[in-house]
């Protein structure tokens, strides 16, 4: 957030004569240094996808979403770091993220995990990475069309709020730029689709972890205790309603 703020301000002050109402900030041209945890992911992306993520429309979408929401989101550096490590870890696994080979023929450049939205987010701003994290969450619960309409509503309500703030309080350069942002529905669809394809690699993550750590090998191993919990919950009367009380007894 901070970096965006500085950046935007720098640009605006350099062209002070420009009418503020007409600021047309082309988000597509800006490229940021990605966090180092995500470099692994960047290196494993196909040339075509990397180009898309750095220069294509999804980059602009990431940047616009970041700019819109950065101010209202908490600072989460640890999460960003850990997610970066995990994403790079997944991307380095050939099972999940294979590299296009000769045997893939005409499709070689389309092979591999679709990490474009992560990389687009990583090369734009922190807010954008957080927007990617939300995209992953929404993709988990909502269907494609539902997720797109949630995004669409988020964007329009956020812009309305910004405009409202502009009228009510003192001038804020970030808000001026942000409330002029337009994100088309097909761009949101693309944003969702990319996050969706990454987010659905759960089985992969399970299998990856299984190979590495045989002790947590079976999923059943994780489930069993939960069944016990569920059982207790159903029983009702035997279970303390508050875990704190349970500890104090």
């Amino acid at each position: 957030m901070a970096s965006i703020g500085k950046f935007v301000f720098g640009l605006a002050s350099g062209e002070a004569s420009l009418s503020l109402a007409n600021i047309n900030f082309d988000f597509a041209v800006v490229k940021m240094e990605p966090p180092k945890e995500l470099l692994g992911l960047g290196n494993s992306l196909s040339k075509k996808r990397k180009f898309e993520a750095e220069e294509g429309s999804i980059h602009a979408t990431a940047r616009r979403l970041g700019a819109l929401f950065a101010e209202v989101l908490p600072n989460t550096p640890n999460l960003a770091r850990v997610y970066g490590i995990r994403a790079s870890e997944i991307a380095s696994n050939p099972e999940f993220n294979p590299v296009g080979k000769d045997s893939d023929g005409a499709l070689a450049s389309h092979i591999g995990a679709d990490g474009t939205s992560i990389w687009a987010a990583a090369t734009s701003s922190k807010g954008a990475l957080q927007a990617h994290l939300l995209a992953c969450m929404l993709a988990r619960v909502w269907s494609r069309t539902e997720a797109i309409s949630i995004w669409s509503e988020l964007v329009s309500v956020r812009k309305r709020t910004l405009r409202h703030e502009l009228q009510a309080s003192e001038f804020n350069i970030n808000a001026v730029t942000a409330c002029q942002i337009e994100i088309r529905r097909d761009e949101l669809a693309e944003w969702d689709a990319s996050a969706r394809s990454v987010s659905f690699s759960t089985q992969f993550t399970f299998s990856l972890r299984r190979q590495d750590q045989p002790r947590t090998s079976s999923i059943t191993g994780l489930i069993l205790p939960l069944l016990v919990v569920a059982y207790h919950c159903r029983q009702g009367k035997n279970t303390p309603t508050n875990p704190v009380n349970a500890d104090n007894r």
Binding site: H110, T116, M137, R140, G236
Partner: protein, 789 residues
């Protein structure tokens, strides 16, 4: 994910989507942020679980209960100390729906009030291998089986037995299953043979289906045990003798007789009609004591007509009784025709009366029969036969009593004395049916007809599974078809959202033909793709005809590509063969890739003429097209598929036109449409239709090597060793050399197929005798021949 399945949580609901999402977003991020930095968190809210699941983070967890359970997930990106504690009061005992979230979505449609939508994170939003769906379907199929479905081990054994009994080849075969029964049977066997932990996992899927997804197959299910719970249905699968055995078994089996409580079957008798006979025979239901031996025995009686023409008519029942005694080992006596009188009662004919059955018919002496029976043939000692008749004539308790039908089938019926008759309805259970299959009581081919016939011929009163629930059977057949398709792409996953669909409504599984034989169904590329579109999206039901021109599907993180695009033309892949690759074309939703029509080819130009050598062929086979590459581009043409209602903002599926371009050292040479290569049907000189495979030289031939290698008979032969030479082919026989380079060979063959009628595709070596044979058979001139090798 299954952990989350066990936690029934609902997102706190707020009236506005914006506030709702922002709160979930910030809460999940800030909690997980401190969690991963090593600060333990006590979690009561679903947002955090959703975040962890979406971001692939696996912190250690402890569950507070009567006993605290700690799960060590060993996720090393999380700083030590960062674990979550789940308090019991946060796990509301909901209906195991994972995490659910509902919101009024205003932007879903162009016009109208916000649509209240509910999403959830549970096993239903998972992607799983196809076999898990089969497991869920097994669960769905048994969802109405009541107590018969309690023990999944038994259910698996049941299905395994079923498939083995119906198709004895199934037991050992490693090929594709032939029917839905075999599909279930094989999956059941897999489950039973898995290690304990894996089996438990499989059983979880089966019980998930049993609990919730009976509707996957149809709303209406047949009675439990595929309808075999019903006695008449079950007996329909048995021949007469086995029906008798089964009915006797039922009458003494504890579990079943419990259902018959209060009914005394000791006085009951079986009346049956042997195959192709309208004269009734009688058999005991319970074994009986007789004076001749201390053992209890079953007994039979055949009816003997008293007639003036004593000798000729009497011989038939006598032979019949011998046959019965021989085949069953039960003594068989005689009844005089006028002993038995069938009385018409009230409205039905389900009762009769033995007027006088005290004496039966006197035993027959051996002398009378001497000439007609062959003692060696019967296998029974002489005295035993006489004994059989004598026993048959000894007293029994079916006196002058009126009997009423109790249970049985159209040709084997149990009658009980009227005064002991009670209305009894009982159902067969899983153990009994399994036993009946194990002991080979059930007739395999009859069972096959019962279970598989979709539009059976009607005769007699026979009932078929499809009569109970046609949709149910159609769903099983659709699933079977899908299993064949997914068998070819074992690395593909399916989207479990498909569980909310009904399989029998799947357009790709519709045959359009009442007498569709599911065991020999031909799967086309279009059918496979339509099927995949449904299982990939979990919601799209698209007709097969919409996929005729489609060569690949891109959805999520998967590309389903026709093998045509991925292999050497010489291998002539089956039309239906697909490959599943990790990747996508970067389009949201389900993109159906159309192969562009009328592709363009570079014209031979003046600047490249210098590169054209057109050397004489030296007999060597080599690859001179190493720098050829293929690249798939989107042309920009997109067309939504009209499959949903108007007014919806986002399109789920659309056609995307793609073209495969051929590059030589990075320079464009041509575009190709591989479908045109494989679908090419050219009419040759002799008016013969040439299919793709007709341009392939035989991979193996009987010709002598020295003859086959002799190409001088075709001189002059020109070798074509680069794209410039290829685009400007010579006027005589040409050999295009791209040995073992499938990419170049695919490109060359496809470009050539458009314009060269004399094209022949060879394997690694060319047998010139075969070339000659093909030339003559097609009526070609030697100068028209272009050989790709």
């Amino acid at each position: 994910m299954l952990i989350i399945d066990n936690i029934g949580l609902k997102m706190p609901s707020r009236p506005e989507v914006y506030e709702d999402v922002m709160s979930v977003w910030t809460k999940a991020m800030s909690t997980v942020d401190s969690l991963v930095s090593g600060v333990a968190q006590s979690v009561q809210s679903p947002e955090v679980f959703l975040g962890l699941s979406a971001w692939h983070l696996y912190p250690d967890m402890s569950f507070l209960g009567a006993q605290t359970t700690y799960i060590d997930q060993k996720d090393d990106v999380i700083v030590k100390g960062g674990h979550i504690t789940i308090g019991l009061h946060s796990t509301h005992a909901q209906d195991e729906n994972g995490i659910s979230w509902s919101m009024p979505l205003a932007c879903l449609r162009y016009y109208g009030k916000p649509v209240i939508s509910e999403g959830s994170l549970s096993s239903k939003s998972m992607r799983v291998p196809f076999r898990r769906l089969v497991q869920i379907a097994i669960g769905g199929a048994i969802s109405g089986w009541n107590e018969n479905a309690f023990n999944i081990d038994d259910v698996c054994t049941f299905f395994e037995l079923l498939s083995v009994r119906i198709d004895p080849r199934e037991g050992s075969s490693t090929g594709l299953p032939k029917t839905w029964m075999a599909m279930f049977g094989r999956e059941a066997r897999n489950c039973l043979q898995e290690t304990k932990a894996h089996r438990k996992e499989s059983f979880r899927y089966i019980s998930l289906g049993r609990r919730r997804y009976g509707s996957l197959l149809s709303e209406k299910h047949p009675p439990p045990l595929l309808g075999l719970e019903d006695l008449v249905t079950f007996l329909g699968l048995l021949d007469v003798e086995k029906q008798i055995a089964a009915i006797r078994e039922i009458s003494i089996t504890d579990r079943l007789t419990k259902n018959m409580k209060g009914v005394n079957l000791n006085g009951a008798i079986i009346r049956y009609f042997p195959m192709n006979s309208s004269s009734a025979e009688y058999a005991s239901l319970m074994p009986q004591s007789i004076p001749q031996t201390s053992r209890k025995l079953h007994r039979r009686w055949v009816v003997k007509v008293i007639s003036p023409d004593y000798k000729s008519l009497e011989s038939l029942p006598v032979l019949r009784s011998l046959k019965i005694m021989h085949s069953t080992g039960e003594p068989c006596g005689f009844l005089r025709k006028n002993d038995i009188k069938i009385e018409q009662t009230d409205a039905d004919d389900d009762s009769f009366r033995f007027l006088d059955w005290k004496s039966g018919y006197p035993s027959i002496d051996l002398n009378y029969l001497h000439e007609r029976s062959d003692p060696d043939d019967t296998g029974l000692p002489m005295d035993k036969r006489i004994l059989g008749w004598s026993i048959g004539a000894t007293s029994h308790h079916y006196g002058n009593m009126k009997y009423r039908f109790s249970f049985g089938s159209s040709n084997v019926q149990v009658f009980v004395p009227v005064n002991e008759w009670k209305d009894l309805s009982f159902k067969l259970d899983l153990k009994f049916i399994a036993q009946a299959m194990q002991s080979e009581l059930i007739d395999g081919s009859a069972a096959y007809k019962y279970l598989a016939n979709t539009y059976p011929d009607r005769f007699k009163n026979q009932v078929f599974l499809c009569d109970w629930a046609h949709d149910y059977l159609m769903s099983l057949n659709a699933l079977y078809l899908a299993s064949l398709i997914y068998h070819g792409i074992p690395n593909a996953d399916i989207n479990l959202s498909v569980l909310s669909m009904k399989l029998h409504e799947a357009k790709w599984a519709m045959s359009g033909n009442d007498n569709f034989d599911w065991s020999s169904v031909v799967i086309s590329r279009a059918r496979s793709l339509a099927c995949i579109a449904m299982f990939e999206s979990g919601s799209l039901n698209i007709g097969v005809e919409d996929f005729e021109e489609v060569i690949a599907i891109s959805s999520g993180n998967s590309l389903y590509v026709s093998e045509y695009l991925l292999c050497d033309p010489f291998t002539a892949p089956p039309e239906s063969k697909l490959r599943c690759l990790v990747g996508n074309i970067g389009k949201p939703g389900l993109a159906m890739l159309l192969s562009a029509r009328d592709p363009d080819v570079r014209e031979p130009d003046l600047e490249t003429w210098e590169m054209i050598n057109h050397n004489s062929f030296d007999g060597r086979s080599e690859d001179n097209f190493e720098s050829t590459s293929l690249q798939l581009h989107l042309t920009g043409y997109e067309m939504p598929l009209n499959i949903q209602s108007h007014g919806v903002r986002d399109i789920e599926a659309f056609y995307v036109e793609a073209v495969v371009s051929v590059y030589d050292q990075g320079v464009w040479v041509a575009d190709i449409n591989v479908l045109s290569l494989y679908q090419a049907r050219t009419v040759g000189e002799l008016g013969l239709v040439t299919y793709f495979t007709n341009i392939l030289l035989p991979p193996r031939c009987p010709h002598v090597r020295a003859d086959g290698d002799n190409f001088s008979r075709f001189d002059p032969i020109t070798s074509v060793d680069c794209w410039s030479e290829f685009l400007d082919l010579p006027k005589n026989l040409a050999v295009i050399r791209a040995r073992r380079n499938w990419v170049a060979r695919l490109a060359l063959a496809t470009v050539m197929a458009e314009k060269e009628k004399g094209m022949m595709v060879a394997g690694e070596t060319v047998c010139w005798t075969c070339v000659e044979v093909m030339m003559l058979s097609k009526g070609l001139n030697a100068s028209e021949i272009r050989i790709l090798c």
